[in-house]
């Protein structure tokens, strides 16, 4: 099944976050808890799949000169609709996600898939590719969210796992985990781990600073 390749390669082998380093801004911001990470991932998957399918369906009629504008218009409209739906049906989560659902528009991942894949491939394949990339993004978000919520607050999806000392338990929460830098550290460690297991992902060195022993500063 060659078609299914588009679904599972973005999960690890070509993960949009850990390999392409796309969409990490939101990956840092919404991963303080599993609930927000899950809702954000779902919103992104819906927007990504829908926009890829629409753009793929009309790809033969998109004039090259305005293709980016059309793509962004479609993506932005879908994002607004997704934001409205979340505000209507999951109000308190929308308060916690604040502006990040709206910022899916600027998530390079969505425009990247539209431009790189949906513009050149049929609807079915584009949907699979979008779903795969969305799941790859969601996987990273949930992994980081898992570690941050578990060690930062001792809970998972708001359910107590480690009783904290504030509630008379034994666990001292690592407050660093709830701050943005910890997501950077975790993401870095994750990328390191993946690239150690799969050395093919290691990028070639762009340039090297050579130190010439005899060179004198002007």
């Amino acid at each position: 099944m060659k078609r299914l390749q588009h679904l599972y390669t973005p999960l690890i082998d070509n993960n949009p976050v850990t390999l392409q380093i796309l969409g990490i801004c939101s990956a840092l911001a919404v991963t303080t808890s599993m609930t927000t990470a899950l809702v954000m991932s779902l919103a992104l998957i819906v927007v990504l799949v829908a926009s890829s399918m629409i753009i793929s369906a009309i790809r033969h009629h998109i004039p090259t000169s305005i293709r980016l504008i059309l793509q962004i218009t479609i993506i932005a409209s879908l994002v607004i609709v997704a934001d409205q739906v979340i505000q209507a049906f999951a109000f308190d989560i929308s308060q916690r996600l604040s502006i990040f659902v709206g910022l899916i528009v600027t998530n390079c991942l969505v425009l990247g898939r539209a431009e790189a894949f949906a513009m050149r491939n049929p609807v079915g394949l584009s949907a699979l590719d979008a779903l795969g990339n969305g799941l790859g993004y969601g996987l990273v978000l949930l992994l980081i969210g898992f570690v941050r919520e578990l060690f930062g607050a001792g809970t998972l999806f708001g359910q107590t796992v480690f009783p904290t000392i504030h509630d008379g338990g034994w666990f001292t929460p690592l407050n660093l985990m709830l701050l943005a830098p910890s997501a950077f550290f975790l993401l870095g460690l994750l990328i390191w781990a993946i690239r150690s297991v799969r050395p093919a992902q290691i990028e070639p060195v762009d340039y090297e600073i050579s130190i010439e022993p005899n060179r004198r500063a002007p």
Partner: protein
């Protein structure tokens, strides 16, 4: 004779080369038109649910505030919670404004120069530096008669900014309750202002003497009159901050004009 069948026009448009000017403009209009329709219908269809969520949020916040005040929930239950209204007042004039309390963010307003004022050093007993020009207050009426006014007060304490709600009874001189909303004082000492036992000392205390001067304060040790509240041992500066908060927020820069208007029964109807 030109063919007026729209389907043929549509097919002709699609058959145009992608780079033609007509098709570029047509595609731009069609895509933006469909997107506009999608966005506006979603906004209109979901608006009632979003508004209901916002209203529920507002009520939940108010309920949380009332719950944090010992004994206050009973008062509200007695008069009916519906009669509690929230008004954003102008501290300068004491007049109410027509700003929706749900959208007013006092913390954000206090940080922007346009919506806040600097308190001159000698008057700034609460140590706040800059306060918002507007403040939200809660008013409870029964048969048009003033029963309860809840004022937000704040001051810089020993190591944090203390925020509290001060509830006054209908005579605007008797304290109905004090509720600490936010504080970060020393645990075990200043932080004890959060204890219900200490907050329970407040109801029945009086604000000002016959001359109208604010006299209510937190004292060291035991209170000896209706104008005094027991201090907490080891938390003198936290107690002083609460005193400063009351004197500041009921004084010239705070709610004095608002309370004067409320006393006259004018304006804040």
């Amino acid at each position: 004779m030109p063919d007026l069948n729209p389907l043929i026009w549509w097919a002709r448009l699609l058959a145009l080369p992608n780079e033609s000017r007509t098709k570029t403009i047509a595609m731009a209009f069609i895509v933006s038109g469909i997107c506009a329709l999608l966005v506006s219908s979603a906004a209109v269809l979901l608006a009632p649910m979003r508004d209901a969520n916002l209203a529920a949020e507002r009520e939940a916040r108010l309920a949380a505030m009332l719950e944090s005040m010992p004994g206050l929930a009973d008062i509200v239950a007695q008069y009916g919670a519906d009669s509690l209204e929230t008004v954003v007042v102008d501290l300068e004039t004491g007049e109410p404004t027509d700003i929706d309390p749900a959208t007013f963010d006092i913390a954000a307003a206090a940080e922007v120069p346009e919506t806040s004022s600097i308190i001159p050093g000698e008057a700034d007993i609460a140590g706040l530096g800059r306060i918002a020009d507007l403040a939200p207050i809660h008013i409870l009426r029964e048969d048009g008669e003033l029963r309860l006014v809840i004022l937000p007060i704040s001051a810089v304490g020993y190591q944090s900014t203390i925020r509290a709600h001060l509830a006054l009874e209908g005579d605007l001189n008797t304290v109905a309750g004090l509720s600490i909303i936010e504080q970060g004082e020393t645990p075990g000492l200043g932080a004890r202002i959060e204890e219900p036992a200490w907050q329970a000392l407040w109801p029945g205390k009086e604000l000002a003497g016959d001359d109208g001067e604010i006299r209510l304060s937190v004292v060291r040790g035991r209170a000896t009159s209706a104008f005094e509240v027991d201090g907490i041992t080891g938390a003198t500066r936290t107690g002083n901050a609460i005193t400063a908060a009351i004197h500041f927020w009921l004084g010239d820069y705070g709610f004095d004009d608002v309370l004067a208007n409320l006393r006259q029964g004018a304006g804040l109807q």
